[in-house]
């Protein structure tokens, strides 16, 4: 039938063509007609999430580049219990793992013998040498161990500046800079979805798509100087021990920029051990410098005086007669010493810290509208906008409020019936130190993004509550007050300006008859101040007659300021005369 080679050749060609058609047909069937079904099945088998170990969160540095908050590499250690071969293995493995995981053998053995799950977590946060040994164990012996790399925040200086640094949880809730800048600090993990092999490594086609973009968190450089911070915290601890205070705050700010150089508050906490604090101790996490307002007392008189000078031209020629009491709005205002001081000018008002004088300024010279306009201009009752979580605006009762009375105008003038945060007070007084310009306080000096871009914070004026002439005049009065009255706050070699305060503590229905908050706020060296310092001590437990700002906070201000100038490299501006012992 098939005679001759040509016929056979034709037959073979036809057969090849048929096979080719069948193959092409099959390919069309698979690749076109039922493609969607097969793709779905393949995706089910191969399409899984894959990724790289997460890059680290951003670190937090002090102004000199010293690490304050870093990242310690740790592992979450687990076991794929579904593939543990024998019971004998669990016994032996538990003995091997116990010293490395810091767990007892029996509990480990129980975890490894679990049958209702495929994976169990054996330990959280294993790092250092133990991690290396676990890696060796996994490679050589217990292949079912899982080591998931992650990070743990590392606080290099322990509890130093804990309120400022703070912490945050996975949802970004927390305190301090950490929580405020959670989104900046948080890294973007390199995780994608695609086709992977049995080892969960992506196929080349996946890699070629370049889906993995690991971006580490943004590093923050703070305005805080760890040396100054440590010294200030040491001084605060010493003051609390010396005066038996329950708590306290020391704030140091550069009035020209608003940069916070140190912020120390007690009581404080160790952020690395935050999980160990009980529910009752959670109040320790709150930063008193920005979140706990208090009645400032007499230090507020400088604000009242500045407002009067700026608005009504009260100046060197102004005086009033102090008969020791002023009745206003049904309340009798008295001086703290219960004395009458006769004719007084503004210098006398501030030097002797006369409540009657301050109330005279607010009630008879300014009136409510003017006084509260200046209180607002100085930032009281408003947030400063600092990059710290849970800042509060304090309490300023305005004439439009239901609970405001005429007497409020009188008591507010000397810092009673008004609640401010230490940061608000420092910010307001810094306007007097900075020739009338009030700078916005800030703690983050610069941000360093993952691509190397550095974005420094530009100092920002909050406003000009008073004129330059007014600010300089009040600063001069405050400097005279330190020179004449506050020998315990003077700093040899550096002319300082300051004002003390001793504030009663409000209770339900009045004021605590015994407990006070003492404070001292000052700046220097005059006439061009480089630092503003606030020292506040809560409830000092010394002899009652010594519970004054001048007696407690004043000396602390002196010791902080004198060392601060050396640490900042600011030489004396006048001959150093050591005080007589």
């Amino acid at each position: 039938m098939l005679r001759g080679p040509e016929a056979r050749l034709r037959l073979v060609s036809v057969l090849f063509a048929l096979v080719f058609v069948v193959i092409i047909g099959r390919l069309v069937w698979l690749q076109v007609i039922v493609r969607a079904d097969w793709k779905k099945e393949v995706d089910t088998l191969l399409d899984r999430p894959y990724g790289l170990p997460s890059p680290p969160p951003g670190v937090i540095l002090d102004r000199n580049g010293d690490l304050l908050v870093g990242n310690a590499p740790i592992y979450v250690v687990g076991a794929d219990v579904s593939i543990i071969a024998t019971i004998t293995d669990t016994v032996e493995a538990a003995a091997d793992l116990s010293p490395l995981l810091g767990r007892d053998v029996a509990s480990l053995q129980a975890d490894l013998a679990v049958k209702d799950r495929t994976w169990v977590r054996l330990a959280w946060a294993i790092g250092g040498e133990a991690a290396y040994e676990l890696e060796d164990l996994k490679a050589e012996k217990w292949y079912w161990l899982t080591l998931e790399p992650t990070w743990e925040r590392y606080y290099a200086e322990g509890a130093l500046a804990s309120h400022t640094l703070g912490f945050s949880n996975e949802r970004g809730e927390g305190y301090g800079v950490e929580a405020f800048h959670y989104r900046l600090l948080k890294p973007q993990p390199a995780v994608a979805q695609g086709e992977v092999d049995a080892a969960s490594e992506p196929y080349p086609e996946e890699m070629a798509q370049g889906k993995l973009r690991a971006i580490q968190g943004t590093d923050l450089t703070l305005t805080i100087d760890r040396t100054i911070q440590a010294f200030v915290e040491g001084q605060l601890d010493k003051a609390m021990a010396d005066y038996g205070a329950y708590g306290g705050t020391i704030l140091v700010m550069n009035p020209k920029t608003g940069a916070i150089l140190a912020s120390a508050s007690r009581p404080c906490y160790d952020p690395a051990r935050r999980s160990e604090y009980t529910e009752d101790q959670r109040d320790l996490f709150v930063d008193p410098a920005v979140s706990i307002p208090y009645e400032p007392g007499s230090v507020f008189k400088v604000i009242t005086a500045a407002a009067a000078v700026d608005s009504r031209g009260v100046g060197p020629g102004w005086s009033y007669y102090d008969n020791g009491a002023l009745e206003y709005g049904g309340v009798v205002i008295r001086n703290s010493d219960r004395e009458a001081h006769g004719t007084q000018d503004l210098q006398g008002l501030l030097s002797s810290s006369l409540n009657v004088g301050a109330a005279t300024l607010s009630t008879q010279i300014m009136g409510a509208d003017v006084f509260y306009r200046y209180v607002r201009a100085f930032g009281f009752g408003q947030l400063t906008g600092i990059e710290l979580v849970a800042e509060v605006p304090g309490f300023v009762h305005l004439p439009t409020d239901w609970d405001w009375t005429d007497s409020t105008l009188a008591t507010n003038s000397f810092g009673q019936g008004i609640a401010v945060t230490p940061l608000q007070l420092v910010t307001a007084v810094s306007a007097l130190a900075n020739h009338g310009t009030m700078m916005a306080p800030y703690v983050v000096a610069e941000r360093r993004y993952a691509d190397g871009t550095v974005v420094p914070t530009t100092p920002r004026p909050l406003g000009q509550p008073v004129s330059r002439a007014t600010a300089d005049y009040i600063a001069e009065l405050m400097a005279n007050t330190v020179a004449d009255r506050y020998d315990k706050a003077r700093v040899p070699g550096y002319p300082m300006a300051g004002k003390s305060g001793t504030a009663q503590i409000p209770t339900s229905g009045g004021y605590d008859p015994v407990e006070v908050i003492t404070s001292f706020i000052g700046f220097g060296p005059m006439p061009d101040p480089e630092v503003v310092i606030l020292v506040k001590l809560d409830r000092p437990q010394i002899e009652t007659y010594l519970r004054w700002g001048t007696q407690t906070a004043g000396p602390v201000f002196q010791s902080v300021a004198s060392r601060l100038f050396v640490l900042l490299g600011i030489p004396p501006t006048e001959p150093v005369v050591e005080p007589e012992q």
């Binding site: 010293d66 990242n71 590499p73 080349p204 890699m207 070629a208 580490q216 760890r226 070699g493």
Partner: protein
């Protein structure tokens, strides 16, 4: 395709295909090009796989080194932290300064 019968071999007549020279050349060139294309594709695919594996390994190396770098950073920070420096200073015989100030020098 024309067929030219040639001499017989052992009595069996053999034929010789006489192909068109141009067609034959085109066919050969086609085969060569197809082989080169397929070879190139396979080489490219292989290179892609190798490079992808290298990239993946490099990614993992970067992550590993980043972790090692962070570990060293924290260790350096621990060793140069203020509490550790204080302890080491005291162990070396230093004492905290009671008074720190500027020294006034005569101007020459």
């Amino acid at each position: 395709m024309s067929v030219v019968w040639q001499q017989s071999t052992h009595g069996v007549p053999r034929r010789k295909e006489q192909m068109n020279q141009v067609t034959a050349r085109a066919f050969v060139i086609g085969i060569v090009l197809a082989t080169a294309f397929v070879g190139g594709y396979l080489a490219l695919g292989a290179a892609n796989v190798r490079l992808s594996n290298e990239v993946w390994a490099l990614h993992n190396d970067v992550a590993r080194m980043q972790r090692e770098s962070s570990r060293l950073e924290t260790e350096i920070a621990r060793l140069s932290s203020i509490p550790v420096l204080q302890v080491r200073s005291v162990a070396l015989g230093f004492a905290p300064a009671e008074s720190v100030g500027f020294i006034e020098l005569e101007t020459p």
